[in-house]
Symmetry: C2
Subunit: 219 residues, 2 copies
DNA sequence: GTGTAAATATTACGCCGTAAACTTCACGTT
DNA sequence: AACGTGAAGTTTACGGCGTAATATTTACAC
């Protein structure tokens, strides 16, 4: 009897916030964002769903922690010499995170960044203020940068209107009446060749180029 | 007896896709995005939840139709003389829709635009191609515009890290250790004065200014 | 060993989306 | 006027959800 009992006790690594988060992210990426339920996550951990509540206050708390974990790379950004480069790195890293874990980003990508990772925000604002921007202007630039990056990443992980991956999306467009949709339907093939990396950089570069520098040009 | 029976039959306006959508949006704005369930929507319509299935195939279909309804103003955009102005109008209208119905936008704002409103997309692409852009470049410019606008709008309706509305958000920031967060905590008061309208325009103008025009400058 | 606190399991409740079967009603045909 | 028909709404039912409350097990200090 002792051998059968050990099934759900011994030889089972104990639950940890970290392990829960890793398994949760793996589960989401494997089965989709809607597959994350307390019970199914518990099952993936070899445990009953309620056991998770000893490590997280509830589903909301769990989602917040998942977001935190996912966005950790933003904590490791190094300061560069130019504020535009810092904005560029911030935006690019945010999108990379999304592309690497698209299902997870779909699930948690709308949470306010400030409730999840305040430090990277503070650092970027600090860079901008040091570069000579008024704090209020620095905040506006930060918002513009993160809005573009997150908006692009969300669109990418939920599926572009015209998806470079082609597949059913392209066929759906080509099935439209070409007289009503001369570009979307008539040029669908060309459109599908747009590289998502290139498009992201094009918009980001335009945004940063278009932003005016601080008034007192020197430090 | 005929009088009591009439309660759930006569004198009750019949269900319509249109009426369901209007009541759904009102319900969402009044009670929050998580309040939209088939049963509660039915109750708000004076009907059992299952009745809705005679007008929509299911929850997904309903959400799609809500998005369509919400984004209808994008259909009414007039063509302007300059492609930058068209992009500007598109982005601004998208954000206005979000600001006017923030809870609804939170619920449906991540759906791919092309599955909901293809016409405005086609028109904007058409404008850009007419202005001399290659279709592929037109698509990149469209993506950049909508990514920024939607990303900004989503951030706005889910709550900025630093919220101009002040309230608990500002207090939360001021409670941070000012040595660790010199800008976010130390300048929280100044930051809270950033007008969301102004910040949106600042980023949008920068983005459009930074985009290069079509190679052959003339038509 | 035994007591104690933490981790996990069990049970239960109300809400969710929706499939299926049933009832009611409006209306065109005869 | 009677009736068939199809659409609209209701009722019932099922499995899954988040989580509160309670019970059980485990690991460890003494």
């Amino acid at each position: 009897m002792s051998s059968s009992r050990s099934d759900h006790t011994a030889n089972r690594r104990p639950l940890t916030r970290e392990r829960i988060l890793d398994v949760a992210i793996a589960l989401i990426e494997h089965d989709g964002p809607e597959a994350l339920s307390m019970r199914r996550l518990g099952a993936a951990l070899g445990v009953e769903g309620m056991a998770i509540y000893h490590h997280f206050a509830g589903r909301e708390d769990l989602l917040g922690a998942i977001a935190e974990r996912l966005l950790e790379p933003l904590d490791d950004l190094e300061q560069r010499s130019d504020w535009r480069e810092d904005c560029h790195d911030f935006a690019t890293t945010l999108r990379e995170v999304a592309v690497q874990r698209p299902a997870t980003f779909r699930l948690v990508g709308m949470q306010p960044l400030g409730e999840v990772l305040l430090l990277p925000v503070e650092r970027l604002l600090g860079t901008l203020v040091e570069a000579g921007f008024e704090p209020v202007t620095a905040l506006a630039i930060y918002r513009a940068t993160i809005s573009y990056a997150r908006g692009y990443a969300l669109a990418e992980v939920t599926g572009f209107t015209v998806d470079a991956a082609g597949g059913s999306g392209l066929e759906r467009l080509q099935a439209l009446r070409p007289d009503a949709f001369p570009v979307l339907a008539g040029r669908a093939g060309e459109l599908a060749e747009l590289d998502p990396d290139r498009a992201f950089r094009l918009g980001l570069d335009a945004l940063l180029r278009g932003l005016e520098g601080p008034e007192g040009a020197a430090r």
